[in-house]
Amino acid sequence: MCLAIPAQIVELFPDDGNKATIELLGVRRHIDTGLLQDDPPKTGDWVLVHVGFAMSKISEEQAIDQLQTLAMLGEHEAALEEVQGYGLSET
């Protein structure tokens, strides 16, 4: 529930609110970056994502660390399932 998933921003859509494309383990989905509006992320930045919204910016090193934590917790599959589910399974 309070899963925070590290993912990399690969595309921003400045004309479409706070929409961004993130990538996690090869899966790309749209998320909302509105909660980071005080310090907006750039393409290539890593963020922690929770229920389709970026919650905080993190370093790449921290992202890898966080992915490892998820794997250790046995939650990487749940994380991937969540990310795959964003956008009502749009492709």
Binding site: M1, H50, Q68, G85
Partner: protein, 376 residues
């Protein structure tokens, strides 16, 4: 060291564990509460109890959104889905939580339009795709999740969407901690503070715990080494006779929190005068509701919500477990009538619930050991 040995930082873990053993006074019993269900999961998953001295007791806190929701709210939410025009949406965690007439998933099998969404934004998208239907989102979660619901509602208002509403069950962590400290049957020496809630609220809201209650609180990450380091920090404070707020999870949690997220919450939500928590009763100012300016999106105002109050199944002792008075295995139903496959109480549903965590790691481990003839 059965589990933690598998992990990459076992040397660091050994060091932290030695430090804990050095700092802990053998003549004293320590009761440390991990507030967040994510920590409970991590503690069982990694078998962290095995590396702690026996006089350090970890008490599981209320930080599991699915677990603290009273059954009546599930019934209330499902009552709205009786309307054939309504699409009921919720996170996957909610789907197997039992109401008196069954879980949302069971309602789906009876023909109700019940759908899992992974984001509140997707519930809104579903409303846009189904203009002839009304989409209701069953919102749960602490401050980690509430800002996302808030931004979704701000977007819905901006777009002028009329067929979308939120059944708001967002709760706030501070009043729950206060209720625990006020409870006469709870004696907690210090807190392992929630990680992801704190990315939003920051560390300041905990200051009264240290200042007024004299209890150390350390905001912690979720890796085994994070949790152990937080325990070291707590023990150091206690040894010095100090109580302060410390941030072990600095790499993710800023001291001031996320101001944009707090602004979004303030725009959309206000505090309810009181809210019922499973096992803890009514706690004042412990939950959020939609402000008047968002009333058009408030499911509780759009629908005739019965306001059902249900007591938990008598034999189930979710409340005592939730407050940390009982350990999961001390509940009469644990592992027999109530299992992750056939949950009676919500604590057995969510992976963050202490019963599910205990069952999946401790209970199964001891069953395996018993089966191969090892005394446990």
């Amino acid at each position: 060291m059965k589990y933690v040995d598998e992990f990459r930082d076992s040397a660091v873990i050994g060091k932290a564990s030695a430090e804990i053993n050095r700092l802990a006074d053998p003549g004293r019993h320590y009761r440390l509460m991990e507030v967040c269900g994510g920590h409970t999961h991590a503690i069982y998953r990694f078998g962290l109890k095995d590396v702690l001295p026996p006089n350090i007791e970890l008490v599981h806190g209320p930080g599991c959104p699915v677990c603290v929701l009273p059954m009546g709210r599930i019934d209330d939410g499902l009552s709205m889905a009786q309307d054939p025009n309504v699409i009921f949406t919720a996170f996957g965690d909610m789907m197997r939580v039992p109401g008196t007439q069954g879980s949302p998933l069971e309602h789906k099998s009876r023909g109700m339009d019940v759908r899992i969404v992974y984001s509140p934004a997707d519930a809104l998208k579903l409303a846009q795709k189904n203009p002839a239907k009304h989409v209701m989102f069953f919102a749960i979660g602490f401050e980690t999740t509430a800002p996302s619901t808030a931004l979704t509602l701000m977007r819905a208002k901006m777009l002028g969407i009329r067929n979308f509403s939120v059944f708001c069950n967002h709760v706030t962590i501070i009043p729950a901690i206060r209720a625990i400290l006020d409870s006469p049957d709870m004696r907690i020496d210090a807190f392992i503070g929630p990680g992801h809630v704190s990315t939003v609220i920051g560390c300041r809201p905990y200051e009264w715990i240290a200042r007024n209650e004299g209890k150390p609180i350390v905001v912690s990450g979720f890796e085994p080494v994070d949790v152990l380091q937080s325990i070291v920090m707590i023990l150091q404070q206690m040894k010095q006779g100090e109580s302060k707020v410390e941030n072990q999870y600095k790499r993710v949690v800023p001291w001031e929190g996320n101001k944009a997220a707090l602004r979004a919450m303030a725009e959309v939500f206000e505090l309810r005068p009181y809210f019922e928590w499973r096992g803890m009763g009514f706690i004042s100012q412990s939950a959020l509701k939609l402000r008047e300016s968002y009333s058009a999106f408030d499911a509780e105002r759009r629908f005739n919500v019965p306001g059902i109050r249900v007591t938990d199944p008598k034999a189930a002792q979710c409340g005592e477990v939730l407050k940390g008075v009982l350990k999961p295995a001390q509940c009469k139903l644990f592992g027999q009538e109530c299992t992750p496959e056939q949950p009676v109480g919500a604590l057995m549903v969510s992976s963050e619930g202490s019963c599910a965590a205990y069952f999946n790691y401790e209970h199964r481990k001891s069953m395996v050991l018993t089966n191969i003839g090892v005394a446990v």
